[in-house]
Assembly symmetry: C2
Homo-oligomer: 330 residues x 2
């Protein structure tokens, strides 16, 4: 016996912004699990900015686009998994797959919170923000903080964690509606719309005491603007550089990097595995913040695997509020 | 009574490379020291790449160009200084000055070494290399190291300190003659001439095991080339970005900075006061290395204050071998 699945393959490397034509949906038959295997049906797929550079380098063509997902074990011939177990995985844009269990983590959902928080604030997204800010950025209470893509999945978490630490927090985003969310819902001190005025001037005006920590998701002109306002011994936690992901060659030109010399600025790229020692503390902190409403979150959920390419394209154009997900099944 | 002195003033902010016209020599009369003051005659003035960005921002026009110097106390009415004391100072391009003593440090020359080593390898120049590599760059024995402007004052020290720590060391420079010095005198594993082939390719070929620590004096294309070869968790100690000093606005465009994310690279700007706790260890280590010949150094000495502008212009064009100095008196 076998199960019908559909996958979204990358069939072309995008030049500039990805388009729907870069993807194709492919129907496959997934054989029943053999001894030691499980069969998993994905419920939600994550759509992340970091997938874009992998579309240029790393992701194989004509294979399912890799990425984070949350599924449920439908059949198990592996004693480590029971039918009905929820499992997070990195097998990406596909409905059903079998696995020997490597790369599957059983998820025990936090009671009292929606399941999707594990794909966002209480998952890798939130953990990236938490460790990036506290471990990589070495945030101290009461510092001056700037977060770019502050209404995005990671940025909105970083900005609110900084607020909880008593910081003055400025966030940049791409629409007035998102600015309102930042100021009125997420409680930031100041939101700025980088599309309506040059980021360098608006950021300078919004940070009268300079910037001690910049949580960077954008690079390029946003990083240049931040460097022009950084305080001495400031830290830049470099989580992403989305500004460069869609340029030819996925490059970002930064022009005033020499500011880091006299300011003795530390720029540090990171990925979440760099601070796994903080994971338990993160889960406990964030679950509490979500339950008592101190951390707000948004999610944009596209329905059905056929909409995964549109979700990816939309993410690159800022169509999302907060975490971008694709829902596949209940 | 008074003493005649000459000073080199910055009279124009350079656009691009500095020219002789950006400077003027001005004769002044320096009054005898008052109570609590000393009168100092400079013996040597230091000519540093870091002076260039200050010519655009920081240095006042129509005042003596600031910078490091070594002088001798000629008259003292301050009990902290005796006539004949050697004093390092930051009063820059001038022959004679009076001071209340602030910013003057009495120098006790290291026996058995020429006086000028205190302006180079055994002075701020060497200390910048030492702390930049060991403290900021967190160098570990046996690592893969790349140093730019490796035949320059700071670079040549950084490269040789890395060799003493058992590292594989590649240095880039701007002439075949300097490449020979790096390989044959300074003992580097590989010297590359960035003017005869694209730095990105030559650096890649010269670093088969990648780069763990890049000691950056150049920025721009050299930093881009290094980022393309950095190993995971690599460190970039950013000492200078000379490539950008002479562009309009003193800017350096770096295009593939996003490499730091997945490589989890740490870029850190620094100045020597960041690691003063290493100073005594540095003096002891470096004096030993110089005496036993493990560290070689070069210096290019222009004669007379009138040649200070030419020394500055020459430095920016790579006319120096090692430390660039102007000699004023014996």
């Amino acid at each position: 016996m076998s199960t019908t699945s559909r996958e979204i393959h990358l069939v072309k490397r995008p030049e500039g912004l990805p388009t729907l034509d870069d993807f194709a949906m492919v129907e496959t038959q997934v054989a029943d699990p053999g001894e030691g295997e499980v069969l998993v049906r994905n419920l939600y797929m994550s759509v992340d900015p970091a997938m874009r550079p992998r579309m240029s380098v790393g992701q194989e063509l004509n294979e399912a686009m890799g990425g984070g997902a949350l599924g449920r074990v439908e059949k198990s011939r592996n004693p480590a998994f029971r039918e009905g177990d929820l499992v997070t995985n990195r097998f990406g844009f596909r409905e059903v797959f079998t696995s020997e269990g490597r790369g599957l983590q059983v998820l025990h959902p936090e009671p009292g919170l929606p399941l999707t928080v594990h794909m966002g604030p209480l998952g890798g997204t939130g953990f990236t923000a938490y460790g990036g800010l506290l471990h990589i950025g070495q945030l101290k209470d009461g510092e001056q903080v700037y977060v770019s893509t502050a209404a995005g999945a990671v940025g909105s978490m970083a900005a609110q964690i900084a607020k909880i630490h008593g910081c003055y927090v400025v966030g940049s985003t791409g629409s007035d509606e998102k600015v309102r969310w930042l100021e009125e819902e997420a409680g930031l001190d100041k939101g700025i719309n980088y599309k309506t005025a040059p980021i360098r001037q608006t950021l300078k005006a919004a940070t009268p005491k300079g910037i001690d920590v910049y949580f960077d998701n954008v690079g390029g002109d946003h990083l240049d603007a931040a460097l022009a306002s950084m305080n001495s011994l400031g830290r830049v936690a470099v989580c992403g550089m989305i500004s460069g992901y869609n340029e030819a060659g996925s490059r970002t030109a930064v022009r005033n990097l020499s500011n880091i010399i006299y300011g003795r600025i530390n720029l540090r790229g990171f990925v979440a595995p760099d601070f796994m020692h903080l994971y338990d503390q993160f889960k406990s902190d964030m679950a509490g913040w979500l339950k008592d409403g101190r951390v707000k979150y948004q999610e944009t959920i596209y329905d059905g695997i056929g909409n995964a390419p549109a979700a990816m394209v939309g993410l690159m154009q800022g169509a999302n509020n907060g975490k971008m997900l694709v829902k596949l099944a209940d």
